[in-house]
Symmetry: C2
């Protein structure tokens, strides 16, 4: 052991003197760093050092109107602006500062979520509601394979979660949940904002959900991959029905076969589930209408979509094990969800209409995933 220590000391002797690009993340000799956000008991304090600012405000996803409400911050010693507020209920929130009218992320907060093209600092408030959103002990694997789409004409990137034990049990096959994002999202939305890996890891570790594969495609037919890769988008009119068709068709005719060929998936309807939020809820409904035999589990969440009585009757005839419709009672799409619930009831299709508080927000979509994932493949 002593010999190893000596060798490594020689090898790494220069490391202590680094003043390099990657080290800009550290602060070795500067003044005491500003701490933000700081949770203390039932309050949380946000701080930002801004020497020349005139007005600094805080915006947060827990506020009644997250897209307009702000709270003024006050300037203290050393030009550190701060505000202390009551701790919101257990959940993952995002927030940012507004400095003289410009949106600024919290430079002290290393926990960042990506939502579409925006990167937002997280406030994780621990508690029962968020207990499955943090890391479990045993982790599944998240991967990003590309599938060749003949329908769209190019390779497209997927996000795939395989549960803990997938590698160690090379004979075992798994059911598959296809989980679709909303407008403005991409194949990274559910894994970042949605905390899919953490939620599934926790539910599976606790024995509350079946071990399953989760496939998160990119629902924008003009995108080959999330913009994080720097690939320019192929211009397409999202409102053109043929464009919308192309993705749902690629999902059901290309992605499902790709997954069942390249992953150890159980290739039958009773082992396939489809769920999606907002635009992805519309895709979910559309897939269930166009391919009624493909999925036995159908979960539209805060869905931008409808189905006719005839379409629901056809779906009932095809056989459905679970139809889980979810929406927040303050969601601008709540009336649409109520209308779909009514059609489902009138057509006698057994279903769950899960109504939560709140609106069209990620806190609801995490809650819905955490809820319906426990009902799949049982």
């Amino acid at each position: 052991m002593k010999r190893i220590v000596t060798i490594l000391s020689a090898a790494l002797v220069l490391a202590g003197t680094l003043q390099a690009q990657e080290l800009a993340n550290f602060n070795f000799n500067g003044p005491a760093p500003v701490v933000s956000p700081e949770i203390q008991g039932d309050s949380v304090t946000f701080r930002l050092k801004a020497d020349y600012a005139t007005v600094v405000k805080l915006s947060g996803s827990w506020m009644p109107n997250p897209w307009g409400d702000t709270i003024d911050m006050a300037r203290g010693a050393d030009f550190v602006w701060s505000v202390k507020i009551p701790l919101p209920p257990a959940e993952i929130y995002t927030y940012n500062f507004i400095v003289d009218g410009v949106t600024v992320n919290d430079p002290q907060n290393i926990y960042v979520q990506r939502d579409g093209t925006r990167y937002l600092p997280m406030l994780i408030v621990p508690g029962e509601r968020s207990e499955n959103y943090v890391e479990a002990t045993k982790h599944g694997t998240v991967s990003h394979p590309w599938y060749d789409s003949k329908l769209l004409g190019y390779s497209r990137r997927l996000t795939v979660y395989t549960p803990y034990g997938y590698e160690a049990n090379p004979k075992k096959k798994y059911p598959v949940l296809y989980l679709l994002h909303g407008a403005g999202g991409d194949e990274e939305a559910w894994i970042s904002m949605g905390r899919t890996a953490q939620i599934l890891d926790n539910l599976i570790e606790k024995g509350l959900a079946e071990p399953m594969i989760v496939v998160m495609p990119n629902g924008n037919p003009g995108q080959r991959a999330a913009c994080t890769l720097g690939l320019p988008e192929i211009p397409m009119d999202r409102r053109d029905p043929a464009v919308r068709d192309s993705y749902v068709k690629s999902l059901c005719e290309e992605i499902v076969p790709f997954i069942e060929k390249n992953f150890r998936a159980i290739a039958k309807p009773s082992s396939r589930a489809i769920a999606g939020l907002s635009m992805g809820g519309g895709h979910t409904i559309a897939a269930s209408i166009l391919y009624p035999e493909l999925f036995d589990y159908i979960c539209p969440l805060s869905a931008a979509g409808q189905a006719t009585p005839e379409q629901i009757a056809a779906l009932k005839k095809a056989g459905v094990k679970l139809y889980f419709l979810a929406c927040g009672d303050a969601d601008f799409l709540f009336e649409g969800s109520k209308a779909l619930d009514k059609t489902l009831t009138e057509q006698g299709l057994d279903h769950i209409f899960y109504v939560s508080d709140g609106g069209h927000v990620w806190s609801n979509w995490r809650l819905y995933l955490n809820t319906f994932a426990q009902k799949l493949f049982k």
Copy 2:
């Protein structure tokens, strides 16, 4: 086809009226959006709308001193601040604005790189030097498996690149490059800032590199995973030699066996390469000293490390197919690299000392990977 269109129109009729969280990324009805950055011929213009700002500056990684230099931006119509500069040479750069003393990312730029705890907008200048940094036609798969470390006492996240064709050729085995990040980085550094997937995809597609697996571990023994996941770091003193030991030992005694068990890797020294930048260069040198039989390809890049004449003699005796030492001539570690080159020469160990322009920056590390990856496993 017509029937499909009608069904989807019904299912998605509500999508056009969405005013939702994910849609905040779009701008349907507002004023013409600000464009930034805008490359026109041999110049590039940066723009930021900042209604109440007093001073707005631009900072960029192409500037002579990227950590201190700034350029003033001028306020134009509608409070849009801008500056037009000569286009820097082909490369991927990062930049940000400084608004009244506060660092601000470019809200118009959807291409963002993650470097440790910082998210930075990219400026991609096309040209020969950067041609392998953009997406190829055929894509490998990037995955994030976790390995159980007995030495460190917890599961830790890896980034693994498998080349295009890995899934379609289930009998084929591949050589493996272990690619290590520097201080301040983590298992996402090489895949984000380093463009590893793009570089390997391009080199393999052009027939310039052997198809290989690339494993990018987390070199911070106190981290289970990149901070993007929200896992708190386990406090450890990085300067404690035992802490540094623990990672190099885990790499060679745990990660290498994990990869060779769970991926189709060729498990012999002539199919193993190790490379790393800065602190990871120190880890590379340390691993080659402690486990001289393990890797036949050794590539310290801008390395924080040294080896004694006796250690190099032992390595020579063990047999090395390629020793590729690289450093920029303006790097603060250049003297150390020259000293190591001298020791290698004196001990008669055949090697390449690749000296580039510039300093301790990602543009060099991408260049080095793009260079030495073509020399591996041949």
